[in-house]
């Protein structure tokens, strides 16, 4: 049971990651509405930075998976 609790605590790291992704999207849409001709460039950059921010969440998921299946 303690393993499950530990994995659940490890996955809590997705909260700041989700907030960061929301921040990226918020500012991209802000920029798009101010400067519509930059739409294409901003979208590409937004997807790239979202993938970068997502990395933290993926580390957390990896840690949780490792705790469940390996550390036992």
């Amino acid at each position: 049971m303690y393993t499950a609790i530990g994995a659940g605590l490890a996955i809590l790291a997705v909260i700041p990651s989700a907030l960061g992704e929301a921040w990226v999207c918020c500012h991209t849409i802000d920029g798009m509405s101010r400067n519509p001709e930059m739409y294409g460039k901003l979208r590409t950059n937004m997807i790239l930075s979202c993938a970068l921010v997502e990395t933290t969440a993926i580390y957390a998921l990896l840690t949780a998976i490792l705790i469940i299946f390996v550390a036992k």
Partner: protein
Amino acid sequence: MILASLDFSQFFSTELAGEVFSSICVVFIICVLAIIVSILARKADPLKKPKGLLFIAETGVNFFDGLVSNLMGPRFEGFGGFIMAIAVYLFLSFIWGLTGLPSPCTYLAVPLSLGLIVFVLIHATSIKYTKWKYFKRYVDPIPIFLPVNLISMWAPLLSLTMRLFGNAIAGWTLMTIIYWGFAKIQDLIFSAIPSVFREIVFTPFLTPLLHCYFDLFSGFIQTTVFIFLSMIFISMEAPEEELEKVMVKGGK
């Protein structure tokens, strides 16, 4: 492997684990494609427009050469082939998950070796452009920072490796859990139908969407991120003063 404890990789009666088998398959496919393209390119008439596979290959080479000269500058012209090779291998190994076998990136040795290639290239570029000043990076502001610098040296390798490995293994684990859960739900809801028909009620219609996200979209994004990051890491190592000199010379 990690997932060996769950018997995920026991697809074959042979000794090979699933990840190793799919890694060999992906390399084999790339070898065959490269041989076909090279034969086509040798036979082709350079005055005519290329067709079919050769056209796709030429477009890809042009695209990656343009990307490298845009992002890394004129000093790194030869890196187009390397970047294209990594991109093709990564994308193929991610969409290999569509076959139902685990993607090669779920085998830690594959992302680790890709990360090691980039890591060695970063330091080789640094040595090439800064010569003996290369060792100055370890005592950067003051010599007390030596242990910190020695540890932070490994950060690019760790982040590149873990990003690929984490993505692939997260997608693979989630897909396995989803397949298992759908099978359980179908067993509960449609317990009146015989089990052969029970399995095809809604799993074949729902899982392709998730495969699209975890294999195609995630694979494409991770390939892009990996090649962009490695290009930026490598081109950061070259000092900028030299670039200005080259540009001034070119201008004159």
